[in-house]
């Protein structure tokens, strides 16, 4: 764990896998650091909300404005809310929220743990009778895992508001009708996999941020590198997970129907 050798992708992946197993072990086995978890949830969830809100609002607005012309060409403007809602709920909401969180939370965790590692704070915790894997890592991973879906719910809801406003720039539609139209094409098999996906995204962001922080070598430079590669690896991971989940979801839909 004191190895710095993160240059090689394969050793990075295997290191990450081992780290993940350790994290899961600590997540499942008491004692749990509940206070720290709540504190991290506050930092990760509540404090990220404004950023998510702004982004989601603009996203809903812009997505609607950009999608509108093609639907108008087809004379299917009334499908606009439904189309937007499906793309937001299924894909854009979770993925964009996760990417933003990878940027903000992932780098934050990477830098924080990285600097704690470099300045021996992690060692200090360990000699103070505290398992840093539990106190620092498990709490953060659990917090990101639980907060990300909630951020996604907010993102979805707020981008609906943006979309509603965008729809109303060109036509006059009541909130009620917008919601009816937006919810009409939504199924549980839109929302449930998207939510499961959000949990996985959150978990990945937390684990990768912590891993990169934990891997940090020596010196302040290492902190920057940890933060940076946490964002990069987490972002790539999000896309890979997304692809896998969508693939899985489709094959399950085929099996079911």
């Amino acid at each position: 764990m004191n190895n710095e050798g993160g240059n090689n992708i394969l050793s990075d992946v295997s290191g990450l896998a081992k780290f993940t197993v350790r994290v899961v072990h600590h997540l499942l086995n008491p004692p749990f650091e509940n206070r720290e978890m709540i504190k991290q949830s506050y930092n990760i969830g509540y404090k990220t909300l404004p950023l998510i809100a702004i982004t989601a609002f603009i996203l809903g607005l812009v997505l609607t404005l950009q999608s509108r012309p093609i639907l108008v060409d087809f004379g299917a403007e009334m499908l606009l809310p439904g189309m937007i809602s499906v793309s937001i709920v299924r894909e854009i909401g979770p993925v964009v929220t996760a990417l933003i969180c990878a940027g903000k939370i992932g780098s934050g965790i990477g830098a924080e743990l990285g600097s704690m590692k470099v300045t021996e704070q992690i060692d200090a915790m360990e000699v103070s009778g505290t398992n840093p894997m539990k106190f620092l890592v498990a709490t953060r991973v659990l917090a990101t895992t639980l907060m990300l879906p909630i951020l996604v719910f907010f993102a979805d809801a707020i981008s609906f508001i943006g979309s509603f406003i965008a729809v109303n720039l060109h036509s006059d539609i009541s909130v009620q009708l917008f919601l009816t139209d937006a919810f009409a094409p939504l199924h549980f098999y839109d929302i449930i996999p998207a939510t499961i996906k959000s949990f996985i995204f959150g978990f990945a962001i937390g684990v990768i941020g912590c891993y990169k922080g934990y891997q940090a070598g020596f010196g302040t430079e290492a902190v920057g590198r940890a933060a940076n590669s946490a964002v990069v690896v987490a972002s790539v991971a999000i896309f890979i997970i997304d692809m896998l989940v969508v693939e899985l979801q489709h094959s399950m839909e085929l099996l079911k129907f």
Binding site: R35, Y42, Y46, F153, H187
Partner: protein, 375 residues
């Protein structure tokens, strides 16, 4: 950073609102898909569900009242579709309500429509099997239509040719102008023929639509056969008429005939009248058939009806027989016409073989001519 009470409250609110958003979405979707509240189920058996899916909407009078909950193959030809409906529509679903697979919008999401039953019928019970209306297979109808329209165009073309020939031949004009009743007759006949063709296509469409149900549920092959037979007969007659028309077209020496042979003209008039009569009859019958079909469609619980009400099936039987008879009559008329023409041919065959054909053809042409002109 210390976790103050204020921060804890903020975090709590954040989580609660987030979960409330999720719960709201789940509730709305669940309400749309009727997963909450009291529901009941009914099912129907289809030959073909045309891409209906679990979760597809079920409508009653155009209102979403539930969703398709299961789709199962019963055997190699039948599919059982179960729908879960809101309890509040329960009182409106009668035992003679029927399920039909329809299409929503242009893009074609499949929906199940449940037709209202008659208020005299008892309300369905949980799990009841409703009667179904098989989806009309569009390609079959189109094929039928195409066949008729090909026939029609051919006839029309012939008529156009005839008209031009008539235009050239003066003798016949005199006849046509003076003898208005004849003209009217011709007119009438042509119109009827057209009508007949149209009716026939409707009927065959309807037959197609219903054939499955009848064949399947009654396993009465005779009835189905009769349907088939009458269709064939009608087609046959039409074809024969067409043949005659074509022959007329070929006939070159006809003009001479027409000028001189009044007997021929008279006989032509007769045949025409004959044909007209038959056509009319055929038309009535086809209307009857259409009516019956409509009745079937408007959902008189065809299964029950056909199984229990022998009067109805008898009358259906009768109608079919009538159709057959009329078709035969039509056939006969055509035959007579041909014979008439044959007599002509034989009398003049020694001189020219094609002439008689031509004559007959011209008769027909004349029959249709006015229609064509009218149009």
């Amino acid at each position: 950073m210390r976790m103050t009470i204020q921060k804890s409250i903020r975090l709590g609110v954040f989580i609660i609102v987030g979960i409330a958003i999720f719960a709201y979405a789940i509730y709305i979707i669940g309400k749309q898909r009727n997963l909450f509240g009291n529901t009941f189920t009914v099912s129907g058996i289809f030959k073909d569900v045309s891409g209906l899916k679990v979760g597809s909407n079920v409508r009653y009078s155009g209102i979403n009242v539930g969703t398709v909950s299961t789709i199962k193959l019963v055997n190699d030809t039948l599919v059982r579709v179960q729908a879960t409906l809101e309890n509040k529509v329960h009182p409106f679903i009668r035992e003679d309500s029927r399920m039909e697979i329809g299409t929503e919008g242009v893009m074609g999401n499949k929906v199940v429509n449940i037709t209202p039953g008659s208020s005299t019928q008892p309300v369905v019970d949980e799990g009841d099997v409703l009667g179904t209306i098989e989806a009309v297979k569009i390609d079959e109808i189109l094929e039928q239509l195409e066949r008729s329209s090909i026939n029609t165009t051919r006839v029309t073309k012939n008529l156009a040719e005839i008209t031009s020939k008539i235009n050239q031949g003066e003798g016949i004009f005199g006849k046509l102008f003076t003898d208005t009743s004849f003209t009217n007759n011709l007119d009438e006949i042509s119109r009827n023929t057209a009508q007949l063709t149209r009716n026939f296509s409707t009927i065959s469409g309807n037959i197609n639509k219903e054939e499955g149900v009848i064949g399947k549920l009654l396993s009465d092959t005779t009835l189905a056969n009769e349907f088939d037979q009458s269709g064939h007969n009608l087609l046959e007659s039409t074809r024969e008429l067409k043949k005659i028309t074509e022959k007329i077209n070929q006939g070159g020496g006809l003009f001479g005939k027409m000028f001189t042979d009044t007997a021929f003209t008279r006989s032509l008039g007769n045949s025409a009248k004959n044909l007209e009569y038959t056509t009319r009859q055929a038309k009535t019958i086809s209307e009857n058939l259409a009516n019956i079909t409509q009745q079937m469609e408007s959902g008189r619980g065809v299964i029950n009806k056909l199984l229990t009400d022998s009067v109805f099936s008898d009358s259906l039987d009768g109608t079919l027989k009538n159709i057959n008879r009329s078709a035969k009559e039509l056939d006969q008329a055509a035959e007579t016409l041909r014979k008439n023409w044959f007599i002509r041919t034989f009398s003049s065959k020694k001189q020219e073989q094609e002439q008689p054909e031509g004559e007959e053809a011209e008769n027909q042409q004349e029959n249709r001519g006015p229609e064509n002109q009218e149009k």
